[in-house]
């Protein structure tokens, strides 16, 4: 496990990378604050199906069962890897920036690496603030930035036996990095 924990004034920041299943209950008290009116948790979990772009569908890449929808790929599991020290550094910077931008009281970002089965969490993000609207905005912003910049990658391992590393080409974020 790789981790970084900071207390910047009144803001608590916890960033961890795990190789084992994430335990959300163990993180529950990390957002606790007498000044918090809202705590929000987000779990990113492995999904069974992936929609294939219409221009990429071919008979050879159809589902794993006769008559199944060729525009949908079935995932067996995901595998994640990371440039660990850089990921910790980037996630910590994101968490601190989110805390400052959205007036957060606490931020938790935990990412799992290795094989992640269907339905299990690859990432847990938790934030607390005085008011709920800030928590909704902060979690969305953290996830957007994580997906753009943090050196973590997933490999789709399909039911067909094929696998592929996912390297999406995304549009550059605006200067503020806000969604």
């Amino acid at each position: 496990m790789s981790s970084a924990s900071h207390s910047d004034g009144s803001v608590q920041v916890l960033v961890e990378i795990h190789d084992q299943p994430l335990e959300s209950l163990a993180l529950a008290d990390r957002l606790a604050s007498p000044h918090a009116g809202a705590q929000l948790w987000f779990h990113g979990v492995t999904r069974r199906t992936t929609k294939v772009p219409s221009n990429a569908v071919s008979d050879a890449e159809g589902g794993d069962a006769e008559g199944s929808d060729p525009s949908v790929k079935l995932t067996d599991q995901l595998a994640y890897e990371a440039h660990r020290p850089m990921a910790i550094k980037q996630l910590t910077a994101l968490a601190k920036q989110a805390a400052e931008t959205y007036d957060l009281l606490a931020v938790v970002v935990v990412h799992r690496l290795g094989i992640i089965p269907i339905g299990e969490a690859s990432v847990i993000v938790g934030v607390s603030a005085a008011h709920r609207l800030r928590t909704f905005e902060a979690v969305a912003w953290i996830m957007e930035r994580l997906k753009q910049d943090v050196p973590i990658w997933k490999q789709e391992q399909y039911a067909t036996g094929q696998s592929e590393w996912i390297h999406p080409i995304v549009e550059a974020a605006d200067e503020s990095g806000r969604p």
């Binding site: 990371a82 850089m86 996830m143 997906k147 050196p151």
Partner: protein
């Protein structure tokens, strides 16, 4: 190699699709720079030489960023072999 040319060898760590294409988790890149060039070797030089010397990575490199000591750098950033370099393909965490 002339006396006015400086040779530098960089280790570049690889991940995900790049690691799969290269069949290894790191490669070495040989960069030769004119000794009189003030900026020495840049990130762009390393990426260009990386594509030349490891053609299996050439197609992916165009979409990659270079990280030096755990920070993304611009193409014109000067780099030296004592730093930790990593080729960062488009990320897909979360």
């Amino acid at each position: 190699m002339s006396a006015a040319t400086q040779r530098m060898v960089f280790r570049v760590d690889l991940f995900a699709g790049a690691k799969q294409l290269a069949g290894t988790d790191h490669v070495h890149v040989d960069v030769r720079v004119d000794a009189g060039v003030d900026e020495g070797c840049t990130a762009s030089d390393v990426l260009t030489r990386l594509a030349d010397q490891h053609p299996e990575l050439a197609e992916l490199i165009g979409s990659c960023r270079l990280a030096v000591d755990c920070e993304y750098v611009s193409n014109d950033c000067a780099v030296n072999p004592s730093s930790s370099l990593a080729l960062i393909p488009p990320v897909s965490g979360g």
